[in-house]
């Protein structure tokens, strides 16, 4: 090993993490993976969005039915009037 390689070995000597590293790893181990919390949050958002879309769909369907009922009754009235005119 020449002088440069010796200097490199000294410069790249092992470094230790800050005290308490083991405890921090253990804490993460018990906390569970972050993706699980993220996945739960995504499910809530997606589920909520789906429920909202379903509610809007039902509302739109009701409005269409009401409009058809109104249109139907008006049509009946027109037909009755037409029959009266013919007679």
């Amino acid at each position: 090993m020449d002088w440069l390689e010796q200097e490199l070995a000294d410069a790249l000597a092992r470094k230790e993490p800050a005290a308490g590293f083991d405890g921090r790893v253990r804490a993460r181990l018990h906390r569970g993976p972050r993706w699980l919390a993220a996945a739960a949050a995504v499910l809530v958002v997606v589920g909520g969005g789906e429920a909202w879309r379903q509610y809007r769909g039902e509302l739109a369907k009701e409005q269409v039915m009401t409009a058809m009922r109104i249109a139907g009754s008006k049509l009946n009235r027109v037909q009755v009037q037409l029959k009266g005119t013919e007679q």
């Binding site: 440069l4 410069a11 470094k15 230790e16």
Partner: protein
């Protein structure tokens, strides 16, 4: 070993700590596959290398300064001078990721080129070339400033 590989590669204490934690959490999940203490050391080193490279790629904010463009120190450090150690670490930090990791494994972990090739999953010839080229660049940079002349 694990934290140190990440620290020398990433030059960011927080990111190195997070990377090292990830490596140990991964070890915990894969404990059933570990057969001997030597296997555990090899496994830890290999995963530390992969996770450090991944972290650097995700971060993508390492200054892309070619080794030739690193500022010269105004004072000439001599071999054995702690200032020379800092200068060498800065120079190594400017190497591309694969030669940088090969140098860290060679001089921090004291691995031979065959062990480095197995750890990094690259051909032996590539490892030798990374080390020789990096040493040549460092030597040239230092000798241009008169460092190393005895």
């Amino acid at each position: 070993m694990v934290f140190s590989v990440a620290w020398h590669f990433l030059h960011d204490r927080g990111l190195a700590e997070e990377t090292a934690q990830d490596v140990f959490l991964s070890l915990h999940r894969n404990l059933a596959d570990i057969e001997t203490p030597a296997h555990a050391a090899f496994w830890l080193r290999k995963v530390a290398v992969q996770r450090s490279i991944d972290a650097a790629r995700k971060r993508q904010r390492r200054p892309q300064v070619p080794l030739e463009d690193v500022a010269e120190p105004s004072v000439r450090p001599a071999p054995g001078d702690p200032m020379l150690g800092g200068m060498l670490r800065r120079l190594i930090a400017t190497l591309p990721e694969m030669p940088r990791m090969a140098m860290i494994l060679r001089y921090q972990e004291d691995l031979d080129p065959a062990e480095i090739a197995a750890t990094m999953g690259i051909p032996l010839g590539t490892v030798k070339s990374h080390i020789q080229r990096s040493l040549g660049l460092l030597r040239e940079k230092l000798e241009r400033r008169g460092v190393g002349e005895r």
